[in-house]
Every structure is written in structure tokens, then in C-alpha cells.
């Protein structure tokens, strides 16, 4: 047992696990070849020990190189390289390693983390965690749902885990940040590699206020197999996996398969029956997954219907909007009209105010966090 104290800067990883982690990185391209036919489940390969892994995946030319790597591995230089990348390694023998993850058949030997390592891993080991996953090409409904769940769960003191992909994943992370939570992003690339590029800003925000986790070493680019592999870690970290929107054959369904194998809770948000893009998640519901329409539904699944744990320390995440700042009955009328989808014109008519006053009130509501706008300035419903 590696009992050394875990710190954000140094982490805690034994040499052997570190070597294993780097070996997976070294062989990642070969694992891709090996798995070309069976991309859905890399577990069989990742469960092999070092020597067998080399034997199984290293092609003739690379085998010598891989074996030389195993014999000549320099833990000190490797630790330095990892630290320079701003990455903290935590191995399965560390007390900080998330306990739930140890139940996997092929628990990764090591996690490379970036961000709030100590706080993030403590939350994963000692508190409830829920994965919110779904389509990269989600509908506005799915995006908003993921965000609400992320925000609601985080505000309820539950750690929100997702995969930092486009669409539902990113939205769940954003929601968790809004709910003052510590979002956990499990990546299919090294923890310092931004993928997809479009999430660059979110990546940095999570590196600052949340935790990025990967079994791949720093600098490692993603492979097709590394996403299903990432999904098994997400499933392993969480007590429940909620699928917000998934088409048939979606990667999110891989996550729920892992979760089911581990005996964890599988849940899904229902979508319209005719939607292609909700067919996978609806199929989950048909086969018995829990129906999620709001944050409370997830809490009911975790704790039992109506049962809640002691109130979490952080309850007041919303800044209380002071009355004189955003206020009065006029502001309420404007807010109500805009939330009902009436737009600025609807708010003018509902409140009887001129367009100038309505715009000013809307700007104040936005400033106080009660309202948000979309990219082209449309006021969006901002849920509680």
C-alpha cells in the first residue's frame, strides 16, 4: 500500500503503476490496431499485465522497444516529465485512488489528473457521484436538460462526472460549474490534451475549478479505443449513470453497459418517441432504466424516494438577488414574460413598459444572474 500523503502537486504513484501508465501510452497506437475489429470493449486488452500486454499488442518491430522500455524505465525522470506537464499521477495503491473504481475488472493502474486533485478524488471516494452523459449532437432540449441536471446535482452536493465531449457532456460540466460543484471530466486523451478543440475554454475552466482525469499519460492524443475505455472509468467512478439523449449505437450506451455490469444505477431522460436522436436513451427506459425528468428524480434513485441525506454545506449557490438591484414587480413581470418565451416585445406588452426600460431591466436581470442570453441575444429560460 502506498500510504504517502496525496498532494495536488506531487500526487502519489508507485513506480510500477507509473510504468504501466506510460506503457499504455507507448502502446496506444498498437492497441488501436489490435482492437480494430472490436472497438466497443478494450477491457480484455487493458486487463492484461505488462508483459502480456506487450506480447499481445506490440508488433514485431516495436516489441524490442517496448521491452527495453520496461527494463530501462526511469521513474524519476518520468515523474519530472509528468510534473512539468502540470499533471498529477495517482495510482491504484494510493489512498487517494477513487474506491469505487477498484471494482472494475480492469481498473486502470494509474490515473493522470489535472486540477483540484485532492478535493476531486476525495469527493469521488467519499461522496456520491453521478455521470451525466449523452449525444454530441444533442437537441437544445438535451443541452438544457444536461445543464439543469449538472447544476442541480452539483448544488445538491453530488459530484458530476462526464466526458468533456461536445453537446451533453460539455453542458453537464457547465451546469456543474454553475452549481458551484467540482466537475470531474474523464478524458479519452492525456489530461493536458484539449480534445475536442471547441471545448478549449471549458477544459481550462475545469482544470482550474474541477478535475481532469485520464488513464493516458500527458501529451497522449486520443484513439478510437480510448473513448470506450474512458466510458468504463466514468461508469466505474459513479453510483449512477444518467443518459440525457443518445441515438442508437451511441457511445453513451457503452457507459451504461459498464454501469450495468457493475450493478450501478442506470437512468435516462425520456425523449420524443419519434426522435432518432433519443432512440438509444428511450430503449434504455424500455429495458428498465430509471426515468429522469429533473434533479429530484436522480436524488430519489440514489437515496430512495423522498429520502435525503443531511443538508449539504453549500446550499445557497445562487447569489441572492437583492430587491432594489433587479427589482420590483415590473422586473418580475418582465422576467415572467421572457421566461414564457415572449421575447423583448412580449415583455413590453406584458409589463406595459417601453422597449428602453424593458431592455434596461433585462440587462439588470442578466447581471444578477436571473437570466441568460444565447449567442444571438435571445433571452433563454434560466431555470432555478
Amino acid at each position: 500500500m502506498n500510504g504517502a500523503l496525496l498532494t495536488d502537486a506531487e500526487g502519489s504513484a508507485c513506480d510500477r503503476c507509473l510504468r504501466r501508465g506510460m506503457l499504455v501510452g507507448l502502446l496506444s497506437a498498437r492497441i488501436a490496431d489490435r482492437l480494430a475489429g472490436a472497438r466497443r470493449n478494450p477491457s480484455a486488452v487493458l486487463a492484461l499485465d505488462d508483459e502480456r500486454l506487450v506480447a499481445a499488442v506490440a508488433a514485431a518491430g516495436q516489441r524490442d522497444e517496448a521491452e527495453r522500455f520496461l527494463t530501462e524505465f526511469d521513474p524519476v525522470a518520468t515523474r519530472e516529465m509528468v510534473a512539468v506537464a502540470g499533471v498529477t499521477p495517482v495510482c491504484r495503491h494510493s489512498i487517494g485512488f477513487p474506491t469505487r473504481l477498484l471494482q472494475l475488472d480492469d481498473t486502470p493502474a494509474i490515473l493522470f489528473t489535472r486540477g483540484q486533485t485532492v478535493r476531486g478524488l476525495a469527493a469521488l471516494s467519499h461522496g456520491p457521484a453521478v455521470a451525466v452523459v449523452g449525444s454530441r449532437k444533442a437537441s437544445p432540449h438535451g443541452i438544457e436538460m444536461a445543464r439543469q441536471l449538472g447544476r442541480g446535482l452539483a448544488a445538491a452536493g453530488i459530484t458530476v462526472v462526464s466526458g468533456l465531449a461536445l453537446g451533453v457532456d460539455a453542458s453537464a460540466h457547465v451546469g456543474a460549474l454553475e452549481g458551484d460543484g467540482l466537475p470531474i471530466a474523464v478524458l479519452g486523451a492525456g489530461p493536458d490534451v484539449v480534445y475536442p478543440r471547441a471545448n478549449a475554454r471549458l477544459h481550462e475552466r475545469i482544470a482550474a475549478d474541477g478535475l481532469l482525469v485520464s488513464e493516458l499519460p500527458p501529451g497522449q492524443r486520443p484513439f478510437r479505443w480510448s473513448f470506450p475505455a474512458r466510458n468504463r472509468i466514468m461508469a466505474g467512478l459513479c453510483e449512477a449513470t444518467v443518459v440525457v439523449e443518445a441515438a442508437e449505437g451511441s457511445g453513451s450506451l457503452i457507459t451504461t453497459e459498464f454501469a450495468e455490469d457493475l450493478g450501478r444505477i442506470v437512468a435516462a431522460v425520456p425523449g420524443p418517441a419519434l426522435w432518432e436522436r433519443a432512440r438509444g436513451s428511450n430503449a434504455l427506459l424500455r429495458s428498465g432504466a430509471a426515468v429522469i425528468t429533473r434533479t429530484e428524480d436522480v436524488l430519489d434513485e440514489l437515496y430512495g424516494i423522498g429520502v435525503r441525506p443531511e443538508a449539504p454545506a453549500v446550499q445557497e449557490s445562487e447569489p441572492p438577488a437583492s430587491e432594489e438591484e433587479s427589482g420590483g414587480p415590473e422586473a418580475d413581470a418582465v422576467l415572467a414574460a421572457v421566461e414564457a418565451g415572449g421575447g423583448v416585445d412580449g415583455a413590453c406588452e406584458a409589463s406595459g413598459l417601453g422597449a428602453a426600460e424593458v431592455r434596461a431591466i433585462l440587462a439588470r436581470l442578466e447581471d444578477s444572474g436571473r437570466l441568460r442570453r444565447d449567442v444571438l441575444g435571445g433571452y433563454a429560460r434560466s431555470s432555478p
Binding site: 454530441r136 437537441s139 437544445p140 453537446g167 421575447g343 434596461a360 447581471d367 449567442v375 444571438l376
Partner: protein, 506 residues
């Protein structure tokens, strides 16, 4: 014998004086034109020969050499015809040279000897006045335009034969008087009174008109975006004399002028398939683009997201600096381009907007990426256009809002305040203030300063956005007749500005 006559060559929207020198010598009959003429100028030889012969004049069967000086300036177009013909007549001794002292000559010839109008006459007349000419001989249809250049005697002539009579002192044209500038003519365009509802867009248009700010209307198809944009010229202040001169000059160069002083601000609405060159000007021989034709008026870009990326990128310089610089290998020209941008787009590819939208996230992201970026950062007002209730469409009820004249009165008053405040800085409205001027003239209270700092720190406002919001808030205060920018003015201004994509709701 040698003759030299003053005429003009167009460069961008300006004209410069060119001297046509003609030398007629004994030798084999030939007619050569030198001095960087292009093919269209060399064609003048044929027109001059036929026009002279058909007017009962002699075309000397001698060696004729014409030089267009300065020889370093490229010359194009048929406007040198008349000067060449007159120079040939003077050099051949058919007309006296004396009456042509201090006189510029400009016009295109038909084979019959009749004079045709040329483009850019106002620019040429202004150049004539600057270079010290007292008189200018022009084709009759150009007379009114040339007369706009104050203090220049305009001699309109119908054909070559009459011109010869004029130079011999046997004929005098009617004196030309410029039509007086009418300032308070009501706009002929559609009226805002016909519009029901659309509170946000009407307010946006009024502020945009009052301060010269760029505006984007977002709304589903059929909500009335184009209809509203067409009412923008009607609420802009009528052009002052100098502005009208500016508009007329540009339009004359582009061949769009009516020959009289412009009374209305231009409204240009190019189709979204336009090329970058078509939008900002260009070509081997640079011609003004739509943004220049909209100078002092409105450039309306409907379906903003459908315009090509290069076209939208090209708009950045004109929007920022009010001019377009076009550099070619040989020379560069600068076109004025101080137009208010009014743009319109759908909220998403399917056009239905928030609640009813059917688009996938990727489609929407791609759509927004096409729009986002530097162009959106230069748009100060983004307002919503709401489709009218079905009842109103069917029952065709009349509009209930104020008429364009009332709105225009407020806009004019707000502009007057701005002009008085800004007269020293060279800007004519708040939208044209540079950063330093804006800092000097826009003062906000302590609470507003805190609000701005908050927006800057959260990333909701960029540095450029900060400056632009201040200018917009200044205009809102001017419209309300307030000396100071209040917290409410600033809030309203911030409400019109887009939040950056990374802070926006998906």
C-alpha cells in the same frame, strides 16, 4: 501647332486634373494618343474623327500626337473625347485658343458630334474649382451636377457645332443655377407608423439612427426584418448640404446619379451572394463597392449568415474606419464608406428560434460560428423581431406606432447635440467617436463604473465592446435629452450588446 486643354481623370471617387496636349504636324496622316491611356481612351480617336467630320468641321490629314499629362496617371473611359476634339480644333486653328483659358472641358462624343454625359461630373467639377478653373464646358445632361460646385461657371453644350459657335462668341448658353438644397423634405420611403408591435426593433432602429450605430435584427423568417430595415432611411436625419454633395459625388462616379443633388440617404441591400470585391470595392481598376455606395446612408445585409466569410471579413475595415483602402500594384485608392450597417438573420438554421427549434447542436454551432467573430463584435445593437400575431395579419389592422417623422425629429435633435459636442473632433455622431474622444465625452457614475468592471472581468464585455457600449449609452442619453449617462442608459446599452459565445446559453 500645339494646343493644351484641361480635363479630368477619375481616381476612386476623386477626380484629378489632366492636361490634354495635341500637336498637329506635317507628315503621314496618323492619330496617336500617349500618356498611359487604356484601350477605352484610345478608342476616342475614332469618335473624335467622326464627330468632327459629321459636325461640318475639318479633321486635319496630318500627323496628330495627343499626350495626356501627367503621363504617370492611368486613364480610362470616354470622358477625354471632348477635350481631345477641342484640342485638335485649337491645334488645327479652327477655333481660337483664348476663350479656353481657365476653362476645363469634359464630355463623351457620339459619332454625330452630339455630347454625351460622363460619370463623376461632380467630382470633376470640384477638382476644377480646386485647381483654379473658372469655367467648365460640359454635356447638357451633366450641367445640373457640375453646377453643384459653388463658384464655377458651367457652360452646357449640346454638340460640337454649338461648341464651336460658343468659342467664336456667336452663341451663349443659358446660365445654369444649382437647384437649392431642400433640407426638410419628408422622406419618400415607407413609414414606421405602418408597423404594429416590434417595440424592440423600433427602439433599436431609433438609437442606431440617432448615433450611427450598427444594428442586427434577429428573428424568424417573415417576422418583418426587411420591412423594418427599409424604414431606416426615413428616420435618419436628412443629409446636410455637404453630406448630400458627398452622396451625389460617390453615386455619380458609380454611374448611379440622377444628375441632381441627392435628397435621400442611400439604402443599399446587396444580395448575399455578393463577392468581397462587390461589397467593399475592387477590381483591376478599382470601383466602389456596396459599402461605398451606402456612404452616409444604410447598408442592409439580409440573411447575414449566408454571406461568404471573406465578404464579411472585408467589411471590418470600413466598419471601423469609415473608408476602404484598395491597393493595387500600380496605385492605391481610398473610397469613403461611412455607412450604418443594418443586418438581419434568423436565430438558427431552421429559423424557428428558441422554443420550437429543430436544429441539432452542431448545425446551430456551425451557423453561429459563421456569424460570430470580429463582425459581431462591431455590432452595437442586437434586437429581436417578433412575428406578428396571426390575427393582425389577417385583419390587416393599421399600425399603432409613431410615424417616421416623429421619430426622425427626436433623431435630429439627438444628432444636433452630438454635432455640437463633437465638432472639434471630426466625428459627426457618437458612432464615429474614436476611443479617446469617447473617453473624453462619456462619463458614467460610480455604480455604472462598477457595473462595467464586473462585465469586463466576467468576460461578458471585450475591450472593444466596452468602448462601443459607452458610445451607445451616450446616444441613448442624447435621445433622452440627458447630459449625463445614467445607470439606466448604460443598462439598456449593455442589454443590446451580445454576450460572447462562451458565456452564452447553448
Amino acid at each position: 501647332m500645339l494646343a493644351s486643354i484641361a480635363t479630368f481623370a477619375l481616381e476612386g471617387v476623386d477626380s484629378r486634373e489632366v492636361t490634354v496636349e495635341v500637336d498637329v504636324r506635317r507628315g503621314l496622316p496618323a492619330f496617336t494618343v500617349v500618356g498611359l491611356p487604356d484601350a477605352s481612351v484610345r478608342e476616342a480617336r475614332e469618335r473624335v474623327r467622326s464627330a468632327l467630320l459629321n459636325s461640318g468641321l475639318d479633321f486635319p490629314l496630318q500627323r496628330i500626337t495627343a499626350n495626356l499629362a501627367p503621363a504617370s496617371v492611368r486613364k480610362a473611359g470616354p470622358s477625354f473625347d471632348l477635350a481631345l476634339a477641342v484640342a485638335v480644333l485649337v491645334a488645327g486653328g479652327q477655333v481660337p485658343a483664348d476663350p479656353l483659358r481657365g476653362t476645363a472641358v469634359c464630355g463623351e462624343l457620339s459619332l454625330s458630334g452630339a455630347l454625351r454625359p460622363v460619370r463623376g461630373m461632380l467630382a470633376s467639377a470640384l477638382a476644377a474649382r480646386t485647381s483654379g478653373c473658372q469655367r467648365v464646358i460640359v454635356p447638357e445632361p451633366n450641367a445640373a451636377e457640375a453646377a453643384l460646385a459653388d463658384g464655377l461657371e458651367v457652360l452646357p453644350v449640346p454638340d460640337m457645332a454649338t461648341l464651336v459657335e460658343l468659342l467664336h462668341g456667336r452663341w451663349v448658353p443659358e446660365p445654369v443655377v444649382a437647384a437649392p438644397h431642400v433640407r426638410d423634405a419628408p422622406s419618400a420611403g415607407p413609414d414606421l407608423a405602418e408597423v404594429r408591435g416590434q417595440h424592440d426593433a423600433k427602439r433599436g432602429l431609433e438609437i442606431a439612427a440617432a448615433g450611427g450605430h450598427n444594428l442586427l435584427m434577429v428573428g424568424p423568417p417573415g417576422a418583418g426584418k426587411t420591412m423594418l430595415a427599409r424604414r431606416m432611411p426615413g428616420i435618419l436625419p436628412p443629409p446636410g448640404f455637404d453630406e448630400a454633395l458627398d452622396i451625389t459625388r460617390v453615386h455619380s462616379v458609380a454611374g448611379l446619379g440622377s444628375g441632381a443633388l441627392a435628397r435621400e440617404r442611400p439604402f443599399r441591400s446587396p444580395h448575399h451572394t455578393i463577392s468581397p470585391q462587390g461589397l467593399v470595392g475592387g477590381g483591376a481598376r478599382p470601383r466602389p463597392g456596396e459599402v461605398t455606395l451606402a456612404h452616409r446612408g444604410v447598408l442592409f445585409l439580409d440573411e447575414l449568415a449566408e454571406f461568404s466569410r471573406p465578404a464579411l471579413e472585408a467589411l471590418r475595415q470600413p466598419l471601423e474606419e469609415g473608408k476602404v483602402d484598395i491597393v493595387r500594384g500600380q496605385h492605391s485608392v481610398s473610397f469613403p464608406a461611412r455607412a450604418v450597417l443594418v443586418a438581419a438573420c434568423n436565430p438558427c438554421p431552421c429559423g424557428k428560434g428558441a422554443a420550437a427549434c429543430l436544429c441539432g447542436e452542431l448545425d446551430r454551432a456551425r451557423y453561429q460560428r459563421r456569424l460570430s467573430g470580429p463582425l459581431l463584435d462591431r455590432i452595437d445593437i442586437v434586437c429581436q423581431v417578433t412575428p406578428p400575431p396571426a390575427r393582425d395579419l389577417v385583419e390587416q389592422r393599421a399600425g399603432t406606432g409613431e410615424g417616421s417623422e416623429d421619430v426622425r425629429a427626436r433623431v435630429v435633435a439627438a444628432r444636433a447635440v452630438q454635432t455640437a459636442r463633437l465638432h472639434a473632433s471630426g466625428a459627426t455622431c457618437n458612432g464615429e467617436m474614436d476611443t479617446a474622444t469617447a473617453r473624453r465625452h462619456v462619463h458614467v457614475g460610480k455604480g455604472s463604473r462598477r457595473r462595467l468592471i464586473r462585465s469586463l472581468e466576467s468576460g461578458a464585455l471585450s475591450g472593444r465592446g466596452h468602448d462601443r457600449v459607452l458610445r451607445l449609452a451616450r446616444t441613448i442619453a442624447d435621445l433622452g435629452g440627458r447630459d449625463r449617462v445614467t445607470a439606466s442608459d448604460l443598462d439598456e446599452a449593455l442589454g443590446y450588446r451580445l454576450v460572447p459565445p462562451e458565456l452564452a446559453v447553448a
